[in-house]
Amino acid sequence: MSVLRTPGGLSLRWRRRSAAVVTGCASATLLLALAAVGGGGDHPMSPADVLRTLTGGGSPAEEFIVGELRLPRLVTALAVGAALALAGAVVQSLLRNPLGSPDVLGLTQGAATGALVVVVLGGGTLTLAGAATAGGLAAGLLIAAVTGRRGLAGARVVLVGIGVAAILTGVNGWLLTRAQLMDAARAVLWLTGSLDGRGWAQALPLLGVLAASTPLLFGYGRALSMTELGDEAAIAAGVPVRRARRALLGAAVLLASVAAAAAGPVSFVALTAPHLARRLTRAPGPNLLASALVGAVLLVAADLVAQRAVEGRQLPVGVVTGVLGGAYLVWLLAAQRRAGRS
């Protein structure tokens, strides 16, 4: 633990280990970012070239490649990773369940429904993003409506979410059969999660939502770590539990929906990133900042792998995260079982 106190009575406290993890992740992000912008594609560039281009000294071709193709893709990846990881961390902490994530609650399925409707009816990329956001939000509202006045506590939300997810999965499958084969292929690509051709139009709204929700998340962050002690303990310590839970879940729904709108429902980042963050920092509690950074690193790394894994062909990033995440999840559950925790 390190503490910084000012004479005016202000004080900040942080864990040395968490701080180290955050710094480490941030530098890893920077390195990966350089690699992502520089390498790959048909026009490899050295890190020096990249830096020169970024500071305005590149050729027009380089300007285009970096500024219009690679940089926006990178920014989207970073933002999607961070947003999904934050949503996952909040959901896991609120539900007091290490397996909570926006997929489990049906939020990503909701986004998928929105997107599929657009695919079936026909519509542009922006309409699709809007519909996906709306779909995710609608699924969140549905959960809130069903759990109703009893509040958004633990197990009930999980079960309701699973029900909502199952219904939407049925609907999504049906929508998929309604589409033309070409459209269906496009829809499946979207459903898997992909960063191909993502530009500023996807990155900017997501950055906006991230910027808007960050103060809220960190403001309620301490309340969040109190609710982990149980509702009664949290209320007794003066946490406005209901309000905090509503605000936090709302923010998580928004983040997950907008992230899905930008890159599709990339699987497992939301589930895995908070776990990895907790393992790295070894700190209890939601680990919001560390989770967000780990999520960003994960997605950028997965995208690098996806672009290079198969010669001459780009995999959607969701396949990479799905395979890696699935393996991690099974290992996690097995480990948890061995530890005998309920």
């Binding site: 369940n97 397996l99 909570g100 997929d103 489990v104 069903v146 759990t147 109703g148 009893r150 197990a155 009930r156 999980v158 079960l159 309701v160 699973i162 029900g163 909502v164 997810a165 199952a166 219904i167 999965t169 049925g170 609907v171 499958g173 049906w174 998929l176 059969t177 084969l181 269906a184 292929a185 499946v188 690509l189 459903l191 898997t192 699987s267 497992f268 589930l271 959607p316 969701g318 396949v319 799905g322 395979v323 995440g325 699935g326 999840l329 099974v330 559950l333 097995a334 079982r337 005998g340 309920s342």
Partner: protein
């Protein structure tokens, strides 16, 4: 009872067509005959299989919210079939069924082990199932992306439908489902004992480990066969045992046969509803059960 189900599905077709169907003499209806009758038979079999396997899962996990679909068993069968279609190019139900069985068996065992085995709680099992579903979903969609032909096949299969039924299909799955139903009924007494907890069951002379393995085998036979033939159909296995339990009480010796009777009613009902609502085409039965069954599930949870 079985007759009434068969009749229940009929009234949709105009009465004279039906008359023609029954009297095999009228040749112009034999086409309809070949489509409608196997479809009804398959609905009966699949419905019974799903209903009973749902009741078994609920008894085995001591969890009223267990359902083969929710626990990822159907998704396991889907993933296996996706492999069969995508990588091996197998296109017939007769070929699929073995893969579906294998996938269902693997995921059943995994879901139960991962969900905590004997210490499983409702939430953990549900989450383990949801997680497995998510893994398998991304795998299946990966398969679909690799190959447009399997996408075209799988996207129709994954909704869950009785529309592709033929007599050959019925003949292939019937032995598996029959075996599964028999195993289930034979194990009902032992499962009843297990419902009181492992120690009590042992005291009553049952062998918990054996009963578990037997039940899982029965679930795999039933669910794998039904899924292979119709695709993943959710909520039937969840809802029917609940509705039936109100009539029979928790005794599995009554509950299981009752599920085997009522689940087909529900499934065929949903199938008929899908045909009526979807005119001039039809809605897949899997969609109908999701849209009708889902809200019921939510009500159940919200009232708990």
């Amino acid at each position: 009872m079985l007759l009434s189900i068969a009749v229940g599905a009929r009234p949709l077709s105009p009465a004279e067509v039906w008359q023609g169907l029954v009297s095999t003499a009228s040749p112009e209806h034999s086409v309809v005959h070949q489509m409608r009758l196997p479809r009804t038979l398959l609905g009966l079999l699949a419905g019974a299989a799903l209903g009973v396997s749902g009741a078994l899962m609920q008894a085995l996990t001591r969890n009223p919210l267990a359902d083969p679909g929710l626990l990822g068993i159907n998704a396991g069968a889907s993933a296996a079939i996706a492999t069969a279609v995508g990588l091996l190019g197998i296109g017939t139900v007769g070929g699929w069924i073995w893969f579906a069985m294998l996938g269902a068996a693997a995921v059943t065992a995994l879901g139960y082990a991962v969900g905590g085995g004997r210490r499983a709680t409702p939430e953990r099992l549900a989450l383990a199932g949801a997680a497995l579903n998510a893994v398998l979903f991304s795998y299946v969609s990966g398969m679909m992306l690799i190959d447009a032909a399997s996408l075209d096949r799988l996207r129709f299969w994954t909704v869950g439908s009785l529309a592709a039924a033929e007599f050959a299909t019925v003949r292939t799955v019937a032995p598996f489902i029959a075996a599964g139903l028999l195993a289930a009924l034979a194990g009902a007494r032992a499962l009843n004992a297990l419902a009181l907890g492992d120690d009590a069951a042992r005291a009553l002379g049952a062998r918990p480990a054996l009963v578990r393995v037997g039940t899982i085998t029965a679930v795999t036979l039933l669910c794998g066969a039904a899924t292979a033939a119709c695709g993943p159909i959710v909520f039937v296995g969840l809802l029917v045992p609940h509705l039936v339990r109100r009539l029979t009480g928790p005794d599995l010796r009554w509950l299981l046969p009752a599920c085997a009777v009522y689940a087909p009613v529900l499934l065929l009902g949903a199938d008929v509803a899908g045909r009526v609502l979807g005119r001039p085409g039809e809605l897949q039965v899997g969609l109908v059960t999701a849209v009708l069954g889902g809200p019921l599930f939510l009500r159940l949870v919200a009232r708990r």
